[in-house]
Amino acid sequence: MTITVQLFASYAEVLGAKSIQIELPESATVKALMAAVSKFPGANRLPPHPLVAVNLSYANQDVVLKAGDEVALIPPVAGG
């Protein structure tokens, strides 16, 4: 399955894109997703364990992804 990962703020700058497409086997976890993300050019400038949101909620490494999930990497927040 193809997962589209949205990127924001400093992460979008580091990876040079607003989103990236990741090809993953069915039932892959967030952990597998992040392993794939780490191979992208510029990903070495991401922190060790970036926060991930799946379908608008923060998700831990064990969450299982399915096709159509809305996935995003969340840089350290700084609202207010």
């Binding site: 949205q6 608008l56 909620s57 840089p75 700084a78 609202g79 207010g80």
Partner: protein, 143 residues
């Protein structure tokens, strides 16, 4: 109760009218303002960006939590995105309540939670033409 992202100036007086409620005796508010100096550098403005859908979901969740904890649904929260110049508001929170203590408590709860949970980011622009992503907990104390 309303919580959301806006791309225009925050009008606190309008937010106060919005939450005004018959029988309530207390209105508390908080505004976050873009500071002219941060971490010793002269700031001209902050470019706020957000993961809009998730930010609005989290802001609404925080408002609902405050409503449930402090027993009032007269709550409005707005966070602005885009370029906000020094002296302008980036966030506005107003809570109306029958009594003063929970009105103030609710405002504090909302701003504290917003700062740590809501996917909003700021890129500070400096007088020398440079800019930098600001992460909470780094550099100078944040408002």
């Amino acid at each position: 109760m309303r919580a959301g992202i806006v791309t225009r100036q925050i009008d606190l007086a309008a937010l106060m009218s919005e939450v005004s409620k018959d029988g309530h005796g207390a209105v508390a508010s908080f505004m976050g303002i873009v500071r002219s100096v941060n971490d010793g550098k002269s700031v001209t403005g902050i470019d706020y960006s957000a993961y809009d859908a998730m930010a609005e979901k989290e802001m609404s969740a925080i408002a609902a939590e405050a409503a449930s904890r402090f027993l009032t649904d007269a709550i409005v929260v707005e966070h602005r995105t885009g370029y906000v110049t020094v002296g302008e508001a980036s966030v506005g929170i107003v809570v109306s309540h029958e009594r003063r203590a929970p009105a103030l408590d609710a405002v504090r709860y909302i701003i504290e939670e917003l700062k740590v949970r809501v996917p909003i980011w700021k890129c500070e622009h400096y007088a020398d033409g440079s800019r930098d992503w600001v992460h909470a907990g780094t550099g100078a104390p944040r408002t």
